[in-house]
């Protein structure tokens, strides 16, 4: 993987769970939570877990404000863009409205070749259930962030009801979008409970849910 991964997509597509999984599994230096859209279930809500895994969490300018919907973002968020020693995953808020926060870092992005800008897609989210809708979303995300999308993530799931056929159905639709845009599928995330031997497009990663409580 590249040194910096920026995750975008529709809200509820699974960006934050994937960000936390990538940060922990890939031993990244930091996770930058730039979600100004969602007030709950943000990656900043698992600070302890991240820190115990050696991941620095960068989020708001206000400390201890998990209960805040203020959009203030820590200026530390620009560090991985300028410091080539740092590996990082950026977790953006959903939709083009969440992606526009990237604009504030535009002048810091010195090494664009270090960056993967990935769209998380779950075809069971009605706004991304067809190839044409996924393509439209890619265009919107690029327009509002001014960053070229470099890859797609298949995160098609119905949470605990997910089975292999759902991942396959997702792959088929996302592949269609991929062929039309030339943007490759770089990861497929597979629910932990699903003991599958199949392999799917891109790198396959087992997803452990950290953000949602068991009773949810």
């Amino acid at each position: 993987m590249k040194r910096i991964t920026i995750l975008t997509g529709h809200y509820g597509s699974g960006k934050s769970e994937i960000a936390v999984n990538l940060a922990i599994q890939e031993n990244l230096n930091c996770l930058i939570d730039l979600d100004i859209i969602n007030p709950y279930f943000r990656s900043r809500s698992v600070r302890g877990l991240l820190e115990s895994n050696g991941v620095e969490l960068i989020e708001s300018t206000i400390e201890n404000a998990a209960g805040s919907d203020l959009p203030f973002i820590s200026s530390k968020g620009s560090r991985p863009f300028v410091n080539r020693d740092l590996s990082a995953v950026y977790d953006l808020g959903g939709t083009k409205h969440g992606a526009k926060v990237m604009m504030q870092f535009r002048d810091f992005i010195k090494y664009p070749e270090d960056i993967d800008f990935l769209v998380v897609v779950n075809i069971y989210r009605p706004e991304t259930d067809r190839a044409n809708k996924i393509i439209k979303m890619i265009e919107e995300l690029e327009a509002s962030s001014q960053i070229r999308v470099t890859g797609l993530i298949n995160n098609s799931n119905l949470m605990e009801y997910t089975d292999e056929s759902m991942i396959e159905a997702g792959e088929q639709i996302i592949q269609e979008a991929s062929q039309l845009t030339g943007v490759p599928i770089v990861y497929t995330f597979i629910e932990e409970h699903l003991k599958t031997t199949k392999t799917f497009a891109g790198e396959n990663i087992i997803l452990t849910r950290h953000l949602a409580k068991k009773w949810l």
Partner: protein, 355 residues
């Protein structure tokens, strides 16, 4: 229709469209913003009305106007915003207009916080507006149930000519869950709205008035008694609840919404150990499901009320209990959501106790 993965707020917004909502009037407040955001895009697409009002007060009065002219209307807000809407809600009830109000509850009092809470129980069931009035209030537990009651609420509102509230806490508004958006729901045979002030007095041959003012106290009392008959009918027909693992329970938890979800996972764990615990889950918090408490098994000795507030529903449990069982209460407030283990520990305090 196959299931899709939806966020609670978004699911409620889409459910409203599917429930035949003609118009939405609202004002932004966290954690319900995805509702107006979703509707701002999709109402127009369906040739329906979306207006972002200048305040919650204006929004609910727009609801009044649109409902008075015969439309199916929705507004949504969160706790402090619902407080601002109380004026209009009282007028809407007094004028016998139907509408649906979604309340995605957050912590209070005051501006409070944006984290989930059930602190509006009294505001919803006792009403913050003036006068004798009630509204049916659903407090669903899953997104599927939420979607189903949102759709059904438009019919119920029309049927009783009274507002219906969907009271969920922020967790249900913000969580993701698979839902079948097109699940069949019960439908009512509804008469035409011949009472509505539609601006068609010419066609109708008579004029309609939407009014909550009654100058003669005896007239007003008569009107209030007529409304009371409606509330009695709602109490008789609309109590909804679920009984979970009640058959041989010693301790019965009373919990709704997200708290019921946590209780459910606690009960599952406790049952695996052989602890006899069950749940009464109110699906309507008004009318309060008194019927659920009528024929509890002999084994029950304690009712344990769980809330994400500090004993508001517990008052209703006390009223319905009438001294029959030991009563216990556990609540968290201010947006703090308890863990399953916390609930397990609470239940353990009371198992093996005497009746």
């Amino acid at each position: 229709m196959a299931k899709v993965l939806m966020k609670g707020n978004e699911a409620m917004a889409l459910a409203a469209i599917k429930g035949g909502c003609d118009a939405f009037f609202g004002y932004p407040i966290t954690p319900q913003n995805e509702i107006p955001e979703y509707l701002s895009y999709h109402m127009e697409e369906n040739n329906r009305i979306f207006v972002q009002a200048e305040s919650e007060v204006a929004a609910i009065n727009m609801v009044y106007g649109a409902a008075g002219s015969g439309a199916r209307v929705l507004t949504s807000s969160s706790s402090p915003g619902i407080a601002l809407k109380q004026e209009g809600i009282s007028y809407i009830v007094g004028s016998e207009l139907p509408c649906v109000i979604i309340n995605v509850m957050r912590g209070g009092p005051g501006l409070g916080g944006i984290q989930p809470s059930q602190g509006d129980y009294n505001q919803i069931t006792r009403g913050g507006g003036n006068g004798d009035y009630h509204l049916i209030a659903f407090a669903p537990e899953t997104l599927q149930e939420t979607v189903d009651v949102v759709k059904e609420s438009f019919d119920l509102a029309d049927y009783y000519r009274n507002p219906v509230m969907i009271a969920v806490d922020g967790l249900i508004g913000q969580m993701m869950e698979p839902v079948d958006m097109d699940k069949e729901i019960p439908q009512k045979d509804l008469p035409a709205k011949t009472w509505a002030a539609t601006g068609e007095s010419g066609k109708r041959g008579s004029r309609n008035k939407i009014v909550s003012l009654h100058l003669d106290p005896y007239d007003l009392e008569k009107h209030n008694l007529k409304l009371k008959e409606k509330y009695d009918k709602m109490v008789e027909n609309e109590q909804r609840y679920e009984m979970i693992s009640i058959e041989d329970a010693e301790v019965v938890i009373v919990a709704y919404g997200s708290m019921a979800r946590i209780a459910r996972s606690a009960v599952k764990a406790l049952r695996e150990e052989g602890v006899k615990v069950g749940i009464i889950r109110p699906i309507t918090i008004w009318p309060f499901p008194e019927k659920a408490f009528e024929n509890l098994p002999e084994s029950v000795h304690t009712l344990l009320t769980l809330e994400m507030s500090l004993g508001q529903m517990h008052q209703d449990v006390k009223i319905v209990n009438q001294g029959r069982y030991n009563l216990a209460f556990y609540g968290r407030a201010g947006g703090v959501v308890p863990e399953t283990d916390e609930i397990i520990e609470q239940v353990r305090k009371y198992v093996g106790g005497n009746k």
